[in-house]
Symmetry: C2
Subunit: 199 residues, 2 copies
DNA sequence: ACCTGAACACCGTTCAAGT
DNA sequence: ACCTGAACACCGTTCAAGT
């Protein structure tokens, strides 16, 4: 308890980010205030302005961190997979979709923030890079499925956007509580929409 | 310009709602404040509390109005259609999807509000009724498609949620500016995702 | 370079008071 | 029944000032 740290060891920026991520999941976007984060970090209400231009800048930084985790998760989900074979061309897409929905459900407020601000946040280097990394996993999964014989005549871009819309929309419906209780049992495939359309 | 209307003819509630809808489309959700709406309606900052329990109550009322328009639009989109035939079982779903996406694009802030608050707003009678009305259009369109031979062996509930996820996700991607420029030409089908998956 | 304190222009909400 | 005004506890943000 010295009086050393008015200066937060120069780590105030990171401290604010992790306080914000905590606040995001416990109280949602509306629970986040710069003043509150500053107080939680033990610093004056205006100190955050040394590290972020304004509140939106902080939110975009959170979105970038979210996309980083998101891309890591998606890449990990397909990394250990055996090569996609014609017998089951959708294996990669299925694994990816599961990870996608898992992410949205385990960190709903962060997921919402990431996509609700995408219009603005794509101007951020970190945000663009990491969201493109996530998008790359999706792209490759669809391409491999096509190479394994799935809808090989269709336009790749249209398929990619189609799969994305499906899984993104499904995650949204789940987050909004619009999927009837018990619709997905634990042993069923979480990617229910694929059972209807992806064949 | 008499001094008659401190009382707003008893129409203050409706005036606040339409001011709010205006503000929603011009400045987004973040541009809405009870105090601002009160001022725009020419009334004191606390007058709205005679008509709405709190800000969230007002937002839910807006969502209900949104779902009312949404349901009207969707019902209108399938109302004039010829009976669905086996030659083109997806005609109804296509018309519905077009209307769905049109609504989202023409009133993005309202659309976002409707779905972002669905968890809370379903406790509102008006919200539940109108969203169920919209959901009913979707349900019937899918059922008719199945009767006309489209995926007639599949579980209806799964198909309905699949189509919903697809069109909802597609609308979200469009609103977030994630669909590449020029991806949909004016003469192409706006329901691109259906060209990829719905066959 | 990094942080504080006062100040400004906003919020949502409550409550006593007016007509 | 409907509205006002003062008041309270918050916000984001700017700026001069401190170390």
């Amino acid at each position: 308890m010295g009086e050393k740290d008015h200066y937060h060891h120069g780590a105030l920026r990171q401290a604010l980010i992790s306080e914000a991520l905590k606040a995001l999941e416990s109280g949602g976007l509306e629970g986040i205030s710069l003043r509150g984060l500053a107080e939680a970090a033990g610093v004056s209400k205006t100190a955050p302005y040394r590290h972020f231009a304004d509140k939106n800048d902080l939110l975009i930084t959170l979105a970038a961190e979210g996309f980083r985790r998101f891309a890591d998760l998606l890449e990990g989900a397909v990394a250990g997979l055996p090569p996609v074979v014609p017998a089951d061309p959708l294996a990669g897409i299925r694994a990816l979709s599961r990870a996608y929905v898992d992410f949205a459900q385990s960190q709903p407020a962060l997921y919402r923030l990431m996509f609700s601000r995408l219009g603005y946040s794509l101007h951020s280097e970190a945000c663009r890079l990491n969201s493109e990394r996530a998008f790359g996993v999706l792209t490759r999964s669809v391409q491999e499925a096509q190479l394994a014989g799935w809808k090989s005549k269709k336009d790749a871009r249209a398929l990619i956007l189609s799969v994305w819309a499906g899984v993104h929309g499904w995650a949204g419906l789940l987050l909004d509580g619009l999927v009837p209780e018990g619709f997905i049992g634990p042993q069923e495939d979480p990617l229910v929409f694929s059972q209807g359309l992806l064949d």
